[in-house]
């Protein structure tokens, strides 16, 4: 059964050892993959203050218990380590086919320690695991490397997870790709892989998920039902039709499209980058992840050729478009290609370039610093040059490769105000001044500004809406305005954060479960129980999520993070410059009160933010008490 005798693969690149570990069933029930398994391993196997680029930084790649199940959107895996961008708990999820393939090869997770003397890649084919030389792959772009690995191993169906030159060059927001079209973008996990001289992990498996499931018939029946229902739910239907690029114009209409480094909420050239233009100029096909009927991925054509990297998602359009004031979809698509070829996080790359543009316009950096590049807002060609400079650590790109926070510290003056980041990670392209719980998520997330902590505020703003009704089984009771930080709103946050964390544990995509999309919580529960036979209830699933969040919190407390780090960029506490929300700030005083309310709900000390011993015991985390700073009660 799923959940019994799950295996993890342990690889030490320093001495070349490869071992398999069988997880105890009772252990797995508490830490059923993904964020939970990764958090446990990081807390227990890595000392505090481990330098991020040292061989001792532990890299965990973990499937969730449902990853690879024949159920739409259950495709995700987590990559985790101490983050080079934030120095905090690091984490990034991706979907695609690689995670399910690892499951088919028989592994729930891979734990990588040490550092290889020379570049290597790992080849996993069931029980056969090899560390192979990768000097011939080093320095090459991702598409070429995938082709070379498949040729070398003689199988076109091998799934390849890899970093690119940006990860090799230790760009602090370098990402990881699988199949060239799916990305663990955030938090610099690619740089950690690069620091270990690990270029890629290639996988091939032949086990079927359902053959191991407790009740395969129920699981397959659920999968078929969900596949049919995708087109009957407006949210999943819209994801299939337009994907994430479809939200550009609606966000602009609401005045919450981050523009010019979060100064504005309305972009004057939105008509050049909206979905209708994308569909006409770029789109060639709709693509999917493993066994997923949503098909939200876009395939695009550039210069007459179908891109191997897939099309830009909303975050990429937002980061290189409005946030850099570039209103040219072709330029944005080229930026997307460059990020994926070099394997950079497109959010942090775009946001860091927007930061540099604002510094340039304020005279904090000049033409001498930029090597003659006119790095003003709106200069798309300069933006493209800067992406390559960042990936290759050339010129000003070497500084920007450190992320906006470190770059601001080096530049000095008011540059710190222009770095729109939390804990060192740049905000994603969602405006907190129009969605207060998104802002709270940016502030409190253990990985720095993360837009996927909770379902966004509009989902629970109207008690008659389909999204609100779908969240009732989670314990949501009362609709709340999008721009509210009331106690009831913090209750929303507390519940949704647990639910979102649970999704990251078991391998669900943000675009699967309600309230963001079409899978009712009862069907999520059915999937877990059909896979494992655990007879869980919704409260049990929420507890799994809360346990994982608390482990990440403890990791950060151990590294010296505290309440003062749970905040927002100063600019966000000031008013937007244009649009329907012009002049509206994120309310600073209410934010502090709401944070205290939320800490109380989470069972965290109101001042220190340290989980109480009572809450840790409720979550079966007694073992973590000794890791807490002394202020714990």
């Amino acid at each position: 059964m799923i959940g019994q005798s799950e295996k993890i693969l342990r690889i030490n690149l320093s001495d070349g050892s490869i071992e398999t570990e069988i997880l105890a069933d009772e252990f797995y029930k508490l830490y059923p993959g993904g964020k939970a398994l990764a958090g446990f391993i990081l807390l227990n196997e890595m000392p505090a203050n481990t330098p991020v680029f040292s061989p001792e930084n532990v890299l965990v790649i973990a499937n969730g218990l449902l990853t690879g199940a024949p159920v739409s959107t259950a495709t995700r895996y987590v990559v985790s380590a101490r983050s080079p961008l934030t120095n905090s708990y690091g984490e990034s999820e991706a979907a695609g086919f690689w995670g399910p393939e690892l499951k088919m090869a028989g592994y729930e997770a891979i734990v990588v320690k040490g550092r290889a003397e020379q570049p290597v890649y790992v080849w996993i084919q069931g029980d056969q695991v090899e560390i192979r030389p990768a000097e011939h792959l080093w320095g090459k772009q991702t598409a070429e490397v995938q082709e070379l690995i498949r040729q070398e191993l003689g199988d076109e169906k091998i799934r390849v997870l890899q970093i690119g030159p940006a990860g090799e060059n230790l760009v602090r927001y370098a990402g990881i790709t699988n199949d060239l079209r799916h990305f663990n973008g955030r938090n610099g996990m690619g740089a950690v892989m690069g620091s270990k001289n690990l270029r890629a992990i290639a996988v091939r498996g032949d086990q079927r998920y359902q053959s191991k499931a407790h009740d395969p018939d129920s699981l397959l029946g659920l999968g078929r039902k969900l596949a049919k229902s995708v087109r009957e739910n407006p949210l999943s239907w819209d994801l299939q039709q337009r994907g994430t690029p479809g939200i550009v114009e609606p966000l602009n209409k609401g005045g919450i499209l981050p523009t010019r480094n979060f100064r504005q909420g309305v972009f004057e050239n939105v008509d050049s980058i909206k979905w209708e233009v994308y569909e006409k100029e770029l789109l060639t096909a709709r693509r999917s992840c493993y066994a997923c009927a949503v098909r939200c991925k876009r395939e695009v054509s550039l210069n007459g050729e179908v891109s191997r990297y897939g099309g830009p998602e909303y975050e990429t359009i937002g980061a290189f478009g409005p946030n850099c004031a570039v209103g040219d979809l072709q330029v944005i698509a080229r930026a997307n290609e460059l990020c994926n070829a070099y394997m950079l996080d497109s959010i942090s790359t775009g946001a860091t370039i927007a930061f540099a543009m604002e510094c340039f316009e304020h005279g904090l950096i000049d033409l001498e610093d930029t090597g003659g590049l006119d790095l003003r807002f709106g200069n798309g060609e300069a933006m493209l040059v800067m992406i390559e400079q960042i990936a290759l650590r050339q010129g000003l790109g070497d500084l920007l490769a450190e992320g906006s926070l470190r770059a601001a510290e080096a530049i000095g003056g008011e540059a710190g105000f222009f770095a729109i980041q939390v804990k060192g990670q740049e905000l994603a392209m969602h405006e907190p001044r129009g969605k207060y719980n998104v802002g709270m998520g940016y502030a409190i997330s253990e990985i720095g500004a993360d837009h996927l902590v909770v379902a966004h505020d509009p989902a629970l703003a109207n008690s008659e809406s389909i999204t609100f009704k779908s969240a009732i089984p989670l314990g949501i009771e009362e609709a709340q305005p999008v721009r509210s930080l009331s106690a009831e709103k913090m209750k929303h946050f507390y519940i949704l954060e647990k639910w979102g964390s649970f999704e990251k544990v078991v391998g669900f995509c943000f675009f699967g479960p309600a309230p963001r999309s079409f899978i009712h919580p009862d069907d999520v529960l059915l999937a877990v129980n059909a896979a494992t036979g655990w007879n869980q209830d919704i409260a049990g699933l929420l507890k799994i999520g809360e346990r994982a969040t608390n482990m990440a919190r403890i990791f950060n407390l151990r590294e010296g993070f505290s309440r003062k780090d749970d905040t927002l960029p100063e600019r966000i506490f000031q008013g937007l410059e244009n649009g329907p929300l012009q002049g509206e700030p994120y309310p600073r005083h209410e934010f502090q009160e709401a944070l205290s309310t939320l800490y109380a709900l989470k069972g965290w000390h109101p001042e220190s933010g340290i989980p109480t011993r009572e809450r840790l015991r409720e979550l079966s985390l007694e073992w973590a008490e000794e890791l807490l700073p002394e202020k714990a009660e």
Binding site: L235, P458, R516
Partner: protein, 76 residues
């Protein structure tokens, strides 16, 4: 009148296509049009007529108007 649907509201339009063209002989409450086409007002977060945000419950529209309705938009 042209009715543009933003966010996931296109789902509710005939043939799931936006914009929808309507010929109005006289001014009519926008909410009545939504009711006629079974577009749930609970899913509508923002309404604008000719670029100006208006109240869904009271908005009157005429034949030459460009009307936009937008659902709540989540992330991803």
């Amino acid at each position: 009148m042209r009715l543009h649907a933003g966010g996931y509201l296109t789902f509710y339009l005939p043939q799931r296509k936006s914009p929808m063209e309507l010929h109005l002989a006289q001014p009519i409450l926008l909410i009545a049009i939504l009711q006629k086409y079974r577009i749930p007002k609970s899913e509508v977060q923002l309404v604008s007529v000719n670029g100006t945000q208006v109240d869904l419950e009271t908005a009157l529209v005429v034949d030459r108007d460009e009307v936009q309705i937008v659902s709540g938009v989540d992330g991803g």
